[in-house]
Symmetry: C2
Subunit: 134 residues, 2 copies
Amino acid sequence: MPLPVTPALTTDCVVFDARGYVLLIRRKREPFRGCYALPGGFVDVGEPLEHACRRELKEETGLDVGALRLIGVYSEPDRDPRGHTCSVAYLAGVERADVHAGDDAAAAEWVADWRAQSLAFDHAQILGDAEKLL
Amino acid sequence: MPLPVTPALTTDCVVFDARGYVLLIRRKREPFRGCYALPGGFVDVGEPLEHACRRELKEETGLDVGALRLIGVYSEPDRDPRGHTCSVAYLAGVERADVHAGDDAAAAEWVADWRAQSLAFDHAQILGDAEKLL
């Protein structure tokens, strides 16, 4: 029996550095092309979630991180205009690190005034929830 | 562009009553037919996760619960013999309530010695993680 069709599973990563800057990418593709967003993407079949989170972070920003802490799960049906996706979001911290854009990211930057930015999807909510954990 | 194929999304619910009993079902179908398991199941497209958790709990045990608290996310590729599934598990508490089996459950019971039981999937791990939150 094949597995039923369910919402598509994604993961996003909130990375703070020691200054309180957040690592954001500029999206290279639609939806939200050009917008700031958290690094992240779709989980592959056969891939544990934390692995997918680290892989997407590495692909999009070049960064490796240590321990991941679960922030929350975001599953509102209208959160992604492409269809129903569910994101599992993780928090990581680094002292400070060079980053460089790759894969689906047009840019990867440490952003100081992230509270003032307009973010793609429900990423402002994810960032707000991450901040509460700190 | 269609969404990519990802692991299938499921949800499970740990419900403790005031005595410390846990609400378990006996699985009516394979895999793990006849085994104790947490109430839960696949998330429908268009359905937020907490809604799916409440729906499955109601369908399988007849129970309505109040606030749900996130326990964790379980995504090891071999956790379900049918294929790669990812479960988001929630914790709820009730004083005490009558339950009755429905849908995919052959039985629904409040179980006192749940630590001594062999549970389907990785549900023993989920229960252990839930206990740490109490």
